[in-house]
């Protein structure tokens, strides 16, 4: 054991490769895709070929089998260039590939993981419902056993990758009387009868990621698509979210980094009162604060990843990383826009999109408020 902040050579190389890919292939089209609300299926396929969509899936199923920190590095690089692709990637890896790799039967893994690992099949996570957000246990979707099948009924909301996605981890009540112990987790493929996707949501940001409702209308899936045991659904959902918070923290770090880059570049070239505005202390101090909070956010994210890597309970630290990194990134984007002045309010400048994109990071995969409850429970031992 040691206190050691360096990356391995392998991590450095991977990061450099993804940074180059993001710079060359992702960033140039980010503004256009946002304007057109366009989900870039081709680019996502390229990311799949690079191995970015099955990073957390075991190697024997064709995945990358990488440690959480390596994954965080990748999400940061992609999100810096395009937060929409960041979430597309994070969702398929963290909340679909990861729980299937962790909780599915061997037979189920063999059926669905190779496609996901190769990047040809995108994944999603169906827990939220119109009436059930932070209070996930209050979900109304149901699943009943019928011979060799499970039949799902219900409506899921805000499902990232609904539409392009082919595999979903979905939660429904198998024993509604048992409350939160009556929730079970399933793998639902998009070709299952009775699976339907609603119209894409129009969102404030992340417009190049696809979000829609998912409907289960007597949706029939094989009995073997149960994840874990009956009644373990909430536990699986919470374990998944504990882990996935690393992805959103890393996404936030990537956005934050981009905001700092844009603000620094603008402050160097924008001249007011006869000097670049970077020479005014008010502007310099904003940059210093943004840079410091970026380091703090990244340190918390990496630390949570390293704790998770040691298979220790990273719940508190992942919650800290997610809450801190997302809020810091929101502050950074706010300041970056402020430094741009009126230009920042124009969609001609990248910072305006970033300001819209970043907003959801304090909300999805557990609001900041839920993260604080998680942290407080750890502190109080409740």
């Amino acid at each position: 054991m040691a206190v050691e902040f360096g990356l391995t050579e392998e991590q450095e190389l991977l990061r450099a490769e993804i940074r180059r890919f993001a710079e060359e292939r992702i960033l140039p089209g980010t503004a256009g895709r946002d304007r057109r609300h366009e989900f870039p299926a081709d680019l996502v396929a390229e990311m799949g070929e690079l191995g970015l969509l099955g990073m957390l899936i075991a190697e024997r199923h064709g995945g990358g089998g990488v440690e959480p920190l390596t994954y965080c590095l990748a999400v940061e690089e992609v999100s810096r260039a395009c937060p929409s692709l960041g979430v597309t990637m994070s969702v398929t890896n963290s909340v679909c590939g990861w729980p299937i790799d962790r909780f599915a039967s061997e037979e189920l893994k063999r059926r669905v993981l190779p496609g996901m690992a190769s990047g040809q099949v995108l994944g999603g996570f169906c827990v939220t419902e119109p009436g059930s957000g932070s209070d996930a246990a209050s979900m109304r979707a149901t699943a009943r056993r019928d011979g060799d099948s499970w039949v799902l009924e219900g409506e899921k909301a805000w499902i990232t990758n609904a539409g392009p996605g082919g595999v979903f981890v979905a939660f429904a009540k198998t024993d509604p009387a048992a409350g939160k112990r009556g929730i079970s987790a399933f793998v639902v493929t998009a070709d299952a009868p009775g699976f339907r996707v609603g119209a894409p949501e129009e969102k404030l940001g992340l417009r190049a990621s696809r979000t829609a409702n998912v409907y289960f209308d007597g949706c029939r899936i094989p009995a073997g698509n149960l994840l874990g045991e009956e009644g373990q659904g909430l536990k699986i959902a919470l374990a998944t979210l504990d882990h996935s918070r690393l992805g959103i923290a890393a996404q936030s770090v990537g956005i934050h980094r981009r905001a700092l880059e844009l603000a620094t570049a603008y402050a160097r070239e924008r001249v007011q009162f006869g000097v670049p505005i970077a020479e005014h202390q008010a502007i310099r101090f904003k940059l210093a604060t943004m840079a410091t909070e970026l380091e703090a956010a990244r340190a918390l994210t990496w630390y949570a990843a390293s704790v998770s890597e040691q298979r220790r309970d990273a719940g508190r630290f992942a919650a800290e990383a997610k809450a801190y990194a997302s809020e810091a990134a929101n502050r950074a984007c706010w300041e970056a826009l402020q430094i741009h002045g009126g230009n920042g309010f124009s969609e001609e400048y990248e910072v305006a999109r970033l300001y819209r994109d970043v907003r959801v990071t304090t909300i999805y995969e557990g609001t900041s408020e839920m993260q604080r409850l998680v942290i407080a429970r750890h502190l109080l031992g409740t």
Partner: protein, 381 residues
């Protein structure tokens, strides 16, 4: 990357934690009230290796690394911030520059007693008219054969009331601005040396802050550190390291405040239940823990970089800026959780709240840290 204390560092943490609980904590409140400098604490800390944590054993230190140093300062500051800064100054601002710039004779003669805690050091840079603008200092050093003669005065010198040795920055030629600044080790029993009164402060009351005066004070040329004109560089390098120590101190103060607030929130009942059951209080506690963890990681990162002989000025400035402002917020929330009781001297949070304030000022104000950080950013670091 891995952030787990090594076995040796864990052992040090446990030892220091015990020492802090048994020796430091029982007197923390009393010396805060009286302002008495805990000289015996310093000597005992020295016996544990805490006066020169990362000084090699051959020069009287504990021979550990900068991360271990952070751990030690945090554990002491968690119960008594005055004791924390006493050690931080001796380690970072006196031992460190002697280790980095001293010649062999200076290391044996001067560093060894300081690093082993037999002698107490202080760092004399700041003057009445030279705070953040350290290069404006006016204390003069005139060469006189094989010695220098010092004239001038210093202010806000931590450990100054009891220091045996002072690392003094004086100019051999004010015209040369920072290039004239030169560092000297001055024994406090030298002729023409005197101390002012003990400053009565908002916090860190027992840290022996005072003025120092030099009136024709002779210093052997052999006790000049580095060359003439090296002083500014030596001071700035020392302060880079000092910032790691102050970041660790701020983390310790905040950790002490969080633990006090947690305990209080569990036992204090209002509206028929412990206040820890209210979301408002839970969210304060969560924010406190989150920010403390972030600050500790930044301090560790700077300390690790220093231990690897990597560039760490930026990391140290960020750690110091973040940790000190964090400590201010955290102690404020801890006091708030205590309600009216937190405003009384019956509870330690009142002291933590006062003690935290200085961490945003000494060893480079937050504003100076932001200048340092933005310089790096604009240079493309």
């Amino acid at each position: 990357m891995q952030i787990e204390l090594s076995e040796e560092q864990q052992l040090l943490r446990d030892t220091v934690r015990r020492f802090a609980a048994e020796v430091v904590a029982p007197r923390a409140r009393e010396i805060d009230a009286s302002g008495e400098f805990p000289l015996d604490f310093f000597h005992r800390a020295g016996e544990l290796g805490l006066a020169g944590v990362y000084v090699p054993e051959e020069y009287g230190g504990a021979g550990m690394d900068e991360v271990a140093y952070c751990v030690a300062i945090e554990e002491i500051s968690r119960v008594c911030a005055s004791s924390g800064v006493i050690l931080s100054v001796n380690n970072s601002l006196v031992c460190d520059p002697l280790l980095a710039y001293g010649n062999e004779e200076q290391k044996r003669e001067l560093l060894a007693p300081l690093a082993s805690g037999r002698k107490l050091g202080c760092f004399a840079l700041t003057e009445a008219e030279a705070g953040s603008d350290a290069a404006a200092l006016r204390t003069r050093a005139r060469r006189d054969g094989d010695r220098y003669i010092l004239d001038g005065g210093k202010v806000f010198i931590t450990n100054g009331t009891h220091a045996d040795l002072a690392l003094v920055f004086a100019t051999v030629d004010p015209e040369r601005k920072h290039r004239g600044i030169t560092a000297f080790v001055v024994p406090t029993d030298a002729p023409g040396f005197s101390r002012g009164h003990h400053e009565y402060k908002l916090g860190v009351q027992a840290s022996g802050t005072t003025q120092l005066f030099f009136e024709g004070t002779p210093v052997p040329a052999a006790w000049r550190l580095g060359e003439e004109g090296d002083g500014f560089k030596i001071a700035m390098a020392a302060l880079d390291g000092g910032r790691v120590g102050i970041a660790a101190q701020a983390v310790g103060i905040a950790q002490g405040a969080l633990e006090a607030a947690l305990a209080y929130a569990k036992e204090r009942h209002q509206f028929g239940r412990p206040i820890s059951e209210f979301q408002a209080i839970q969210f304060y506690l969560a924010d406190m823990a989150m920010e403390i963890d972030a600050a500790r990681l930044l301090a560790f990162k700077a300390a690790w970089a220093k231990s690897q002989r990597k560039r760490y000025s930026l990391e140290a400035a960020q750690a110091k800026l973040f940790a000190s402002e964090m400590a201010q917020r955290v102690t404020n929330k801890a006091l708030q959780i205590h309600g009216g009781y937190g405003y009384t001297r019956d509870y330690a949070v009142e002291r933590f709240f006062r003690d935290a304030r200085i961490t945003e000022i000494y060893e480079g104000t937050s504003e100076i840290q932001k200048l340092v950080i933005s310089d790096w950013i604009l240079r493309g670091a």
